[in-house]
Subunit: 85 residues, 6 copies
């Protein structure tokens, strides 16, 4: 019962920022996997884990002052593989 | 060099809201587990996963208009019902 | 002038995460009602209350590792139990 | 039952940024009032309304490039009333 | 090496909420300018500055309980210039 | 009056996540510099730029599943390689 009470006050509310381009299946897989990871390490109920995905367009995320779109364009010539971007 | 550039633009960036009271070890475990979950399901490098923890005091989180502190007090021995918390 | 200066530094700034599907009228009603609630309880000017709405698609919010889309599908006629969603 | 299903997919998760200095009672009052406002205008259950308070120190909020602390200091000489800041 | 170590722990991760309507060029300019400002004042590497843009529709931002759309409509008759809105 | 109305609806609202350890002066400098950068590139009034700083402890930020505290410890004299942090 003490455990019950403790669980009642937990609340991982998780916001995940992702670049657009993932499939629905990938997004379902990642929220299932994160939820399992949180349940296992924090000892909470699955019901207590809420995840919000915020998907960003390639002009809406920058590193070093350059948007993802600029980086993708720079990486394009000859670059075989940008799928992880 | 190409790889370097690619790594710089990936995400995800994850923000996790937690009620205060977790140990350092628990917090280290949960970020390691979430990172592993994201790497496995999205196929990104571990370096690309950033997690920010936002710890909230028991007066700073409410469900149904009652703060966690109020709910914890209500759940003290003698209180019949904590299931909605 | 003193009043002008004071107004510039107050908050609150409120971010509300909503599943998509609300009408414009509903969204206008809820921000008006929240603003009134904050003004009344915190004693601030209406001008000091800023609200940002973040609307999430049904694949972008999950509870217990299941997205809202999965839960809506499961709750379709024939599904017995949706109370935990 | 349709109503039940609709309610199950709602989720106002609300984050409120406040300057530090409010009493516990004020914070309890404002989350109760916001919850009531959301329930009334969106037709959700109180249980579905989660509010997170993020309290900021006076050096951690700025308008026009000046922190609240700087504004409070500027407003101090002769200014009778800064309690709403 | 000390510098190396210091760089390793920094991380301005910046989220900027903007009303929709800016051009790609404006958004590229503002992230470049913010990055430069952070690098100059905090002494970090450009690579360490990540900026996420969250673009809001005119019904998704309110001041004083009125959405930007309502304010734009109210300001329209005879108002020559609303581009800064 | 028109100007007054227009000012009330503008943004941006910026949230900056920083590891703890900056001085007040550094934080004042960075918000002043960011504000100037935004005013210059987006053509808004300084009053329209609001910045919130969220300061994180060294156990509350992780890259690759390791908290900043773990990385700082690993980077202590004798540790060979910290460049990926």
């Amino acid at each position: 019962m003490k455990k019950q009470r403790r669980r009642n006050t937990v609340m991982p509310i998780i916001q995940m920022n992702l670049l657009e381009g993932r499939t629905v299946e990938q997004k379902r897989n990642v929220v299932a996997a994160i939820t399992e990871a949180v349940v296992r390490t924090l000892g909470v109920n699955p019901d207590q884990v809420r995840i919000l995905i915020n998907e960003l367009g390639v002009e809406h995320f920058s590193v070093a002052g350059q948007t993802a779109a600029m980086r993708q364009a720079a990486a394009a010539p000859g670059a075989a593989n940008t799928k992880e971007l």
